[in-house]
Each structure stands twice: as structure tokens, then as C-alpha cells.
Symmetry: C2
Subunit: 159 residues, 2 copies
């Protein structure tokens, strides 16, 4: 794919709800900050790898390159995932939801993991409720879901 076509990709205008929900024009809804939610899942087994955000420019780049390009809210910049680490995400398919304010990216994660912590997925802990405390409250805690990390994040991100 050609990054130069990114600027020439046209989205549809958002007309009425019926057109957005039942039509075949791609009319993504960006929020007040200009962002749309993007959920990256493993194209082969469906595991949710990460949740991130895209602005219009990064969405166009994603479609043009066939690799996931997000917008980093913390750095306030275009974020070509894995560009420096080599852990890019090949985009197999982009899905839009009914009101077109969220996207699912079915990806093939290159390199070992999608999460900067070293796990395959950012969702490496599940929520559990602990028993009732003396104050009658129940603390919500987290339980690891992976036996181990899948790559050495410190080595990958060391500069």
C-alpha cells in the first residue's frame, strides 16, 4: 500500500442516523477531541490486544499503509505502532460499528507482544472481588491472566 494515498482517502458525510447505521458509506464519528476508539484484536484467535485512539489522519494512514497507526493522547501525536520497535500491526480488516464511532482492527501483531509492558495483550489482568472487609466493603482487585510475559520490554525499548 502507498502512504501517499492517505490524503486522498475520502470519508462520507454523516447524514441521518439511518444512513450511518444501515448505509454503506464510511462516515466515522470523531469525538470533541477529534478521536475515534480503535480496538485491536488478533486476526487469528480474536484476543483483544489493545484499545487505542485514531484521529482522521491516523485512520487514513492505517487504511493506506495496511498497518495500525494510532494517535497518542499522552504525546498528542501520530503513533505508527511498532515503527521503532519493529512490533508493527498488519491490518487484515477494519470493522465499523453501527453508529460508526468505534472501530475494530483485526491485526497480525509482528514481534512478540502488543503491550509495552511485555505482555502479548494490554489486557493481562482480570478483575476480581475480594471478600468483605471489616468496614463492610469489598475491594476490587486484579489477577494476572498470563503465566509470563512474551518479550523483554526493557530490552526492546532500551535506547
Amino acid at each position: 500500500m502507498d502512504p501517499l494515498i492517505a490524503d486522498r482517502i475520502q470519508f462520507s458525510p454523516r447524514r441521518d442516523a439511518e444512513t450511518v447505521e444501515a448505509g454503506l458509506g464510511f462516515a466515522p464519528k470523531f469525538d470533541a477531541a477529534g478521536l475515534i476508539t480503535a480496538v485491536a484484536v488478533d486476526a487469528d484467535d480474536g484476543t483483544v490486544l489493545m484499545v487505542a485512539y485514531m484521529n482522521a489522519a491516523s485512520l487514513r494512514l492505517t487504511l493506506a499503509l495496511g498497518e495500525a497507526v494510532y494517535f497518542s493522547r499522552s504525546r498528542q501525536e501520530i503513533w505508527h505502532k511498532g515503527k521503532t520497535s519493529g512490533h508493527t500491526q498488519e491490518v487484515v480488516e477494519v470493522l465499523a460499528d453501527c453508529d460508526q464511532d468505534a472501530l475494530v482492527l483485526r491485526v497480525r501483531q509482528r514481534g512478540a507482544g502488543a503491550c509495552h509492558t511485555g505482555y502479548r495483550s494490554c489486557f493481562f489482568r482480570r478483575v476480581a472481588l475480594a471478600g468483605e472487609g471489616a468496614d463492610g466493603c469489598q475491594a476490587a482487585g486484579l489477577v494476572p491472566v498470563y503465566a509470563e510475559k512474551c518479550y523483554d520490554a526493557a530490552a526492546v525499548y532500551r535506547k
Copy 2:
């Protein structure tokens, strides 16, 4: 589960990034509007069913009830998914991501579909690029991914 325990579920304070990312305290990050992104996936086959949002109260209710309770941004109210249609979502597991600003709900969808349009998933269309137009632009369009709807939305939501 008991809805009355919802108010007694305690989240952890958000200390430093290291604690949030590597610790086992559940310290969900709600955005400026008091919401956290929640991605519901089929617990059995991993299909992404919908992307919605929760405030602290709906998250506590979800954990207490074991059913998905969201916060409707359009109606600005607690939204117990499927409470009226019967299409509730049994929550098998809630996962938190590294910085704890997004959740994945592994659910069993009761009734036929998660989407109000009648499809099993809200993500019933994929994005495709059309050929180059006379103006040099490429229109991004949508292509259906399901052969058919899985229930009659008009009948379910008719009052």
C-alpha cells in the same frame, strides 16, 4: 450476585504509573466525563460484540450483578443492557488494560444479538477502499460481513 453490594465495592487509588501498570489493585481511570471504555466480546469465540462506556456506578453494578451495565452517553443514564428486551449480557470476566483506562468484558449474550439493529455484533460492516475516482480520491466504503440479521429488531423494540 447482589446488586446491594455495588455501593460497597471499593476501587484502589491511582498512584504512580508503575503501580497502576504492574500492581494488582483495580484503579480504573475515568475520563473527564467520568467514563471508561468497555469492549464486550463473546466469551466463547472472542467476537467483538460492542464498544460502550461505563461510569463508576455502572461498573460497580456490573461487578455486583454479573451482568453488563453501561452508561448511555446519548441518554446520560445508567443502561442495564437488555433489561427490557431480555437480551442481557452475562459477564464471565472483566479484564483491565495496562493503564487501566479500558475494560474488556467477556460476556455470554442472552437472546440473539448485541446490536440494536438486529445483528449479532455492532461491527457488522468492514471498511474497504474503492477505486480511484476522477478527482484522484479514493472513497472509503463499507461492506456487510454477516449474511443476515439474527433477530427482528423491530419486533423486540416495538412497544
